[in-house]
């Protein structure tokens, strides 16, 4: 599906919404020391350009990787604040990279940067622990902003991503309730969270959403953050359950 989670025409005065609508405390992470970033992309062209942009903006690029396995090892070795990850790299899918890092207990936050995401790939990477997704055609400013936000532990949500997350909750909600007691119930969104997610999906900025719902910008941010956390938590529980089942049956 083109233009779903990503659309090069989207960036515009308002199109960068979730990013542009951010409040004023951005870049605070840069106050003490430069943010450390690892860039993983199998295209040298992109890898170099992204790294250069980051260095020019005062970030410290502590490592680069050209495939999935080395993205994992570089990230574990250098413990960066942010891993900028291309979705489709040789050797390992983006979701597998995220899962490996999570399993190894890496504190690095992951921002996915991709030229065109198949919705399934984007969703599985987000579920596996990435907290942001940006298309490569986003402008340099948007990109740098996204890296800062990711480093601060804030989700980088586009309208397309909100749609994917919302769709995933809808899907989970429509599954029959588990019969066995030890199977975790599907996570549910609160009414507010659903409302916020739907508004983000329609391309509204956090600021606009805050104005419409008479809540603070920060609250909007928290709602979005919560939806992501619930999804990732559910994914982890599912993985553990799957691993235990496999372990018992073998």
């Amino acid at each position: 599906m083109k233009g779903q989670a990503n659309n090069p025409r989207q960036p515009g005065p308002d199109g960068v919404d979730p990013l542009a609508g951010a409040d004023g405390d951005l870049g605070s992470g840069l106050a003490d020391r430069p943010l450390r970033v690892v860039v993983a992309d199998d295209h040298p062209m992109w890898r170099d350009a992204v790294a250069r942009d980051l260095v020019d903006a005062g970030f410290s690029v502590v490592g680069t990787a050209a495939d999935g396995p080395s993205a994992v090892s570089r990230t574990l070795a250098t413990a960066p604040d942010v891993l900028v990850l291309d979705l489709n790299m040789p050797g390992m899918r983006g979701s597998a990279v995220c899962a490996e890092l999570a399993a190894a207990g890496s504190p690095a936050r992951i921002l996915v940067l991709s030229v065109s995401g198949e919705p399934e790939d984007v969703l599985s990477t987000i579920k596996a622990g990435a907290t942001g997704y940006l298309v490569k055609s986003a402008s340099r400013e948007e990109f740098l902003e996204a890296v800062r936000r990711t480093a601060e532990g804030r989700a980088v949500f586009t309208a397309g991503l909100a749609g994917l997350v919302l769709g995933e909750f809808r899907r989970l909600g429509q599954q029959p309730p588990p019969a066995e007691g030890d199977v975790p119930a599907a996570p549910e969104l609160t009414e507010r969270e659903t409302e916020v997610l739907r508004l983000v999906a329609t391309g509204l900025s956090y600021k606009q959403i805050a104005a419409q719902l008479f809540i603070s910008h920060r609250t909007v941010q928290n709602h979005v953050q919560n939806t992501l956390a619930k999804l990732q938590m559910h994914n982890r529980v599912e993985l553990v359950r799957y691993a235990i089942e496999r372990g018992l049956h073998e």
Binding site: K2, P8, G12, G160, G167
Partner: protein, 383 residues
């Protein structure tokens, strides 16, 4: 398996091949049976020597057919003639009882071989005709209509027709399978192309787009051109429709995919990763309504306005929301437009959605543009 290496024929069918193999063995066994049954009644045979000569001819034929594995119609029509002759020879060479009652013949059951073969080649009609021919020959041998062969005719006719019908089904299945394989190959090729394009061209176009904009001026214009092509190409490789497949699977369609075509140029489609299935007629109406909404965006919010089309699958209903970031239209103005007869907005969207048993409403918020929300029940329309 390389499809090009062997020319595809009907006999690629496993079922048909197995039947031909069985027939080849049956021909030998039938001959052994014929020989044995002649041995049992050899004392009463009118011309044992000539009967054995008939068996000899059939043996040569059987040996040839066993080795050559021929499956063409011509050879089996010849086999039919030979079998008929062998049946007729019963009249003169066999025991008087066989010759007059037809309870057995010199070829025994061997004459059924060409019936089966022709059924396999020509299908149920061929099998029916072949079985009727051989029955007629057997009745002619006895020289009396109301005879043993007539009462056995049912079995032979059933054999010919049923096997022929089976062959027909096997052939149809085989053709279906071939088509499915071809389609699969098509999809695989498309995926391969998509990967290649994704890894090379799209990356480069996205790069030009971004760099161009960063540099500014003339380069920014080049960047915009690259962006446009990137969008088109991505649409092509990711959302390429397979019309044949869509038609083959009539019924529910994926609303995301249906909408995809409508929103390519003008808006961003936001949806789940999972397909959103909707009855195909309904989906068409929804697409038309969304197109109308996007038309309104172009007309009222200007060419600079951006739009988002959000598909939210609630299970029993689908909610499609179209929002733009234009100046927005007040509720009063929409009502006013409806009253003054300028129903463009209402009828083309509301009408369609209400026909589907759903409802549509307009929302507008300052700075938030105009929003159209359409609820469509997935089940049968109320009309």
């Amino acid at each position: 398996m390389t499809p090009q290496s062997t020319p595809a024929t009907d006999d690629d069918s496993l079922v048909l091949s197995a039947l031909w193999g069985a027939l080849r063995v049956f021909r030998v066994l039938a001959l052994v049976y014929a020989l044995w049954s002649i041995w049992v009644r050899h004392a009463e045979m009118a011309r044992l020597d000539l009967a054995l000569m008939v068996i000899g001819v059939l043996s040569v034929w059987t040996a040839y057919m066993y080795v050559s594995r021929r499956r063409d119609l011509r050879i089996h029509v010849m086999e039919m003639v030979l079998a008929s002759a062998a049946v007729m020879s019963t009249r003169w060479f066999d025991t008087p009882l066989s010759a007059t009652t037809g309870d057995t013949t010199i070829p025994g059951v061997w004459q059924n071989v060409p019936v089966v073969a022709i059924a396999l080649i020509l299908g149920w009609r061929g099998g029916l005709i072949a079985s009727l021919v051989i029955t007629a020959v057997m009745i002619a041998q006895v020289g009396q209509f109301d005879s043993e062969p007539l009462s056995n005719a049912g079995l032979i006719v059933m054999l010919g027709t049923c096997l022929g019908f089976g062959a027909d089904v096997a052939r149809t299945e085989q053709a279906e399978l071939r088509r499915a394989l071809a389609r699969q190959a098509e999809v695989a090729e498309r995926d391969r192309l998509a990967r290649v394009v994704h890894d090379g061209v799209l990356q480069a176009l996205a790069f030009i787009h971004r760099r161009g904009r960063d540099i500014g001026g003339e380069s920014a214009r080049l960047g915009m051109i690259a962006a446009e092509q990137e969008l088109r190409l991505r649409a092509l490789v990711i959302g390429m429709p397979l019309p044949e497949l869509e038609v083959a699977i009539a019924g529910p369609v994926d609303l995301r995919r249906a909408l995809d075509a409508a929103v390519t140029e003008s808006a961003t489609l936001v949806a789940s990763a999972e397909p959103v299935e909707l009855d195909s007629a309904k989906a068409q109406e929804v697409v038309a309504a969304v197109e109308a909404a996007l038309d309104n965006v172009r007309k009222h919010a200007g060419p600079q306005a951006q739009a988002w089309v959000v598909v939210d699958d609630l299970g029993a209903d689908v909610v499609v929301t179209v929002r733009d970031d234009g100046p927005g239209v007040s509720q009063d103005r929409i009502a006013e437009a409806a009253q003054s007869g300028r129903l463009g907005v209402s009828s083309s969207i509301k009408g369609r959605i209400e026909d589907l048993g759903g409802r549509a409403r307009y929302l507008t918020s300052p700075g938030g543009g105009t929003m159209v929300e359409m609820w469509i029940p997935k089940g049968r329309a109320a009309t």
